[in-house]
Symmetry: D4
Subunit: 223 residues, 8 copies
């Protein structure tokens, strides 16, 4: 259809193919885009897909896989991409941040990167974090997901020997301003080495983390 | 003068006398208010007094004392109020938060409460805080002062067995929005037991902390 | 489950056990957390529980008690904690502020502190407040709940001889900005001795008030 | 000059002549406007005039009068307008609100309306207000000026039997957001009968109050 | 019930009885308040009542009258209050502002003041306003209701010889920010003599306008 | 220098050469850019140049012309570009909006378009505008400059038979929020046919108006 | 009805008839306005009409046409207005911006102007835009529609030799703030020649673009 | 002094030593911190140092080096750290963004990473960027600095095969809101792989970029 101009060379240019953002697209549009893309790409994925939308999509795309806690749909070919030697470690401050963290985890997995998960280690009980210090100290790259006051990335970045991708979430109420409060917290981090993405943007965090690990991969394969 | 209607009974009602807020008052007005108040109160204090204003005030009030890092002026009688057995412990995240913390410390001292100070223990190096855990664990009431991301009160409240008064500061730049960012952080604290005051309001934090210790004092003296 | 890392030592560290925040958790997650926690704590509570969620929880936890106006669920053992000698006095400005005030009242009760309630004494008819002056003058600690312009805590703090915990509510419309207006009012209070919590955060206000009364309790039991 | 298109008929249409707003005009422009206006109007006034600007104006307009605390300049003819039988009562919450209140008071006086002043009766010591209840109960129209939390107009409107014009001021710091906080407070007043004007707009408050008293004057002179 | 502390003397103090604000109250609470109030007041009214709430109320209060476009319910005794000789003229900028304008009109009528209505005279076709200039020129007091850019009160106040009460509405989208844009417009009006109330607050505008006309009434009946 | 990468083909692409934005550049940088650009362009201009900066520039560029009320500097060759047959009509609401309007006027003139000016016709005295209706009715394109409530473009667009470019200014105080209030007003205009530019952006308004007139010019010269 | 004061001469004054804005009007009101307007205007249109509202309208107005993706209803006479020789070129950044772009496209068509559409050429794959450079270079006037970061109008305006009308959309989440982020982006465009309209305001963008092309039409028909 | 608690192990934990943030510290405090730190670290640096502060510092620390365009001071030992094989490529949108970009460049250099600079390639003339495509395509990690609309990082990230660190600057005026507008633009980037830091935070961007390159370095040296 005319409604979409698929960016077929994005993988060539940037290392990652275009990913379909679900909201504001009709199921018919998503189906048409997916079917066009699968002709050129081993993996095609769409984010922010609610279960009832998935039902409509899978009626037309039988091999579509759904990851409910991540709200992601994907078509993946048998021959998955070669796995990275390095890992993406993902932390959440609370249980309610899980959907955003899973969006990051599934995105990274579909891009061929191994993921470690550590949920519910927010700063209100800092020992939960400290007793997992080894995970942070050994990490190659960290994604830290937090709502409410969003303080976790600052504490983590002060302990970590690697880049930290900070994801504010809309978890909270009142003065959390739908995620603006943790967003500001993360941008103002006293600890350096933190890159921030949009509120609830688990997808973008994963691509940034993957992109970071690709720097090392390219370095290795360089002559 | 007609410009001020001094609240002579505030100490009777609330336990603490009125304190003069300097900004927006002429030196002449401050002098007149101080001289009227000293007739009824052993201690008279004014906050947010810049050095050049102090010069003008002390020309007319020779026994006026100035605390430069706290920007407070005070007249104190010899017979100071009986000291509390309990202490106010004040923490800052960074060095630049010091003026606000000193405003709290001097206010509390002038109200007759002992103060312990612990500066520059922000979350970017959380071991600085943890190596002072005993100070937090033993505290009667805590005042925690932080700018930038303002994450310190959350971490402290998760460790402390007492009320935490959180003071955001305007230290920072850009997305700190002159202190709005740490203010929001503190209001959204996942750790409970935190009461927040206005940006840079060291004075208000001290009065709240003193008011908290007075609850215990009244309890003791009750029959 | 992996989704939650319960902070079993929070009561040891801070005097109060972890409390489950309902939003963003599935009923299954809440049930699992509650059942794990009850093994270690005499009282287990969850806030922001809508009636239909309670129905699902009580099917699995038969002894779960629901406080509908407070939207709180709790499991409480027979042997309740020893009652405090001091009381938490809770005021609201209007009738619509009641759910937030009840969240505070039930939380405080479940923590073992007696509560006095005074509803609908907002500043538009200040005599309603003044005719209850004795309640304010005698209070040990006050929680003041108000939406719309949120002026009540300022007036109360000018009359009270004890700490005031101010809770803005999202009651109002238009320029109340979902509670930001009363939040700002309370932070700018001319009367000192006011600690502010997040919009609609009755729970946090109660824990702060309880923490304040514990200062006195500890003082008493100290040698 | 072409730079100003004086609205000579405004007095005919609205009852009050145009008033010159000083900021953003050069002294030469203000002088030219004043000299043109005085040919048609017995009183010509300019607001927001700093002392150094007044010096320049008075060099060219020798009979110009300056009201420093109100920052107003005026040319007034001998034959002043007939005085109203009704009075405008002006209250401030604090001493620092005085310049805004004086802008209102001088504007009203120059428009021929008598003014009563009551300064520094803010809600932190509500007895200061209550002990002046008779002034409020007898008022024809009230202007209430307040910064910081801006709670005074709500309390006054709950006591007053007449319209209340509320003026927020930029007095305060931090979360007062340069007067936005008291502005929101006043707009959200639970007490009805309150009309709000811009931050620091003493001039606009006075014209509204005068316009209100003119309703009664017109009623009287109607056949 | 304890949930409401009715302000029975408000009419004595301020000239108008308390009015029940519907949102956040259960139908049972509203019924109980109405039945208590009707024992002391000839007219009892409640605002922001949706049709389905009215159904529940009228089942218990058979003589309750509903004004659907104003979303107001009222009990009125036969002996209505004496009518004012002066009139409140209400203007709207567009058709969609009608519910707010009707809230003002019905409130004023129930308070005993005659109302003139002029709808849909916004500034995009300024001749619609100018061809009704006589209505503005003859008005005793004006209520001007506008959403979107909210420019109408400025234009009207430049033409009117009486006070203007400006009511911003939440009509609009995008950059109207739910009524904040017209609210700011009205507060910044270059034309003086404008008092602003909260977004969509037709009720408050009416009480202010009535209060203004009472100044003239009191003047007349004064000896 | 490396600090600037001059866009020499912008005139070819867009019809107008690059214009130097003064703030944040050192005088030395501006001089170097101007001297490079003059080799390719008959007219070189810089905006937001304060008088003291102009002094430094003219020491090195003797033929530099300064337009003080517009704060623009320009080098113009003798052979000015062919004049347009159509005119840009510029209106301001107040006198204080003049610098922004002059920035627009001088920019348009330097681009070869004739300008008509009409200052101080704001909506508080709408007859000032209506008595110039013919100017609006005959206009080819209008630039309307207004601060404070920013209502003028709406009224003008309801009268005009041509595109309206709206420029909000930072003239005002308090709730004008440094020009955000008139910006929002203009974006919410009920009258269609209005394009808005940044606060105080007289330059951008002029380029848009010139670009609009070029559409007609191109049409004429097309075969 | 009294609820609407139709601006029958708007077409005479401004070139375009009044268009009905659907939200906040009852179907009955819209029907009455449409039937009154059709007596004077060959084309009558209403925007923001949801399908279920259209059902109700078409029951009374059988010849009403509905454009679902644009959410526009229109009555059009057989004799359509003479077509313009110049074209409006409309671009979107993404697929989800389509409804706003169609609102613009249908409005322009109904006003008699030909439209070219180019969807999904956002800056994340800038080659999609560059490979359509000829469309931009040849355009008479451009409407550029974008949500999320809203960067497309800046890039386009740097390439285009004609006016650019920029339309921010509410497409996005989190820090897009319902369209405020792309609105700010467009207002701050470094490329000049951009006029911005309200968020999601495809209608307003079309009228501005049509108004721009009319300048050229008038020029041609001038003697 | 007690005012600072230097985090001597930060380099061990995070790979980079603590860096002194200049604002809010007295020159005496900075000198004392620098002299303490130099005992343990080969390089000691301070950011946001104005020239007059540098004068005071260098009087006590003769070997202090100043980088004026970056506003950085540093003490560096002869034996500089081993150079990375990979490079940090830094781009700016305009000339005025240079100080922030230089803060990043000097920080990275002092940390031992080579830097490539490309200034003034903003999107208003996108060919300036495209003609440097090879620099982007070959980059290991990119820092993209932009004020005003801040669109450059989106365009770059759509072309780059590596992580992009986006730095908004406070360059701009009006609706740029001191850098909030480009900050929001960058957070909403449609192109993935972008990590955002605080407004004007060149330092933080550099540390994040260095941290990213260290991932590759660690990978290489791993067995
Ligand atoms: N202090 C003030 N605050 C608000 N408006 C004012 C003030 N002083 C004068 N004005 C109004 O500002 C307008 C004058 O604007 P200008 O044409 O720029 O002089 C007049 O309509 C006055 O009614
Ligand atoms: N529509 C309304 N908008 C604003 N205030 C109202 C409205 N209706 C009633 N009120 C006021 O709200 C207060 C009642 O609050 P409550 O105690 O919650 O019923 C009274 O003081 C009324 O004057
Ligand atoms: N989608 C739209 N967005 C903005 N304005 C519109 C829209 N549709 C119609 N209008 C304008 O809204 C005004 C109608 O407002 P109303 O009197 O409430 O019908 C007319 O002046 C139209 O020019
Ligand atoms: N220009 C800068 N912007 C942001 N953070 C900085 C900057 N310079 C130093 N820092 C960080 O600020 C912290 C020091 O804060 P302080 O204790 O107040 O000196 C350190 O953790 C640095 O990593
Ligand atoms: Mg948890
Ligand atoms: Mg430090
Ligand atoms: Mg009530
Ligand atoms: Mg005072
Ligand atoms: Mg209409
Ligand atoms: Mg003027
Ligand atoms: Mg797309
Ligand atoms: Mg440049």
């Amino acid at each position: 259809g005319d409604f979409a101009r698929i960016d077929h060379h994005r993988k060539l240019r940037t290392g990652f193919p275009e990913v379909i953002w679900g909201p504001g697209k009709t199921p018919e549009q998503i189906i048409e885009i997916m079917q066009t893309m699968r002709q050129n790409h081993p993996t095609v994925m769409a984010t922010r897909i609610e279960p009832e939308v998935y039902e409509k999509l899978s009626a037309k795309i039988p091999d579509l896989v759904y990851y409910p806690s991540a709200r992601i749909c994907a078509i993946t070919s048998q021959t998955s991409p070669p796995k990275s030697q390095q890992t993406i470690t993902i932390l959440t401050a609370g249980t309610a941040d899980l959907p955003v963290a899973e969006e990051a985890a599934i995105t990274a997995s579909l891009c061929g990167f191994p993921v470690k998960r550590l949920w519910d280690v927010g700063v209100a009980g800092v020992h939960r974090l400290l007793s997992n210090w080894h995970l942070i100290a050994e990490a190659d790259v960290l994604i830290v997901v937090a709502g409410m006051e969003g303080a976790l990335p600052s504490v983590v970045a002060g302990l970590a020997d690697c880049p930290v991708v900070a994801v504010p979430t809309s978890v909270g109420y009142g003065a959390s301003l739908n995620g603006l409060a943790p967003l500001l917290t993360m941008l103002n981090s006293c600890a350096a080495g933190v890159g921030v993405v949009n509120i609830d943007n688990g997808f973008g965090a994963a691509i940034l983390a993957c992109q970071i690990l690709r720097v090392a991969q390219k370095q290795q394969t360089a002559p």
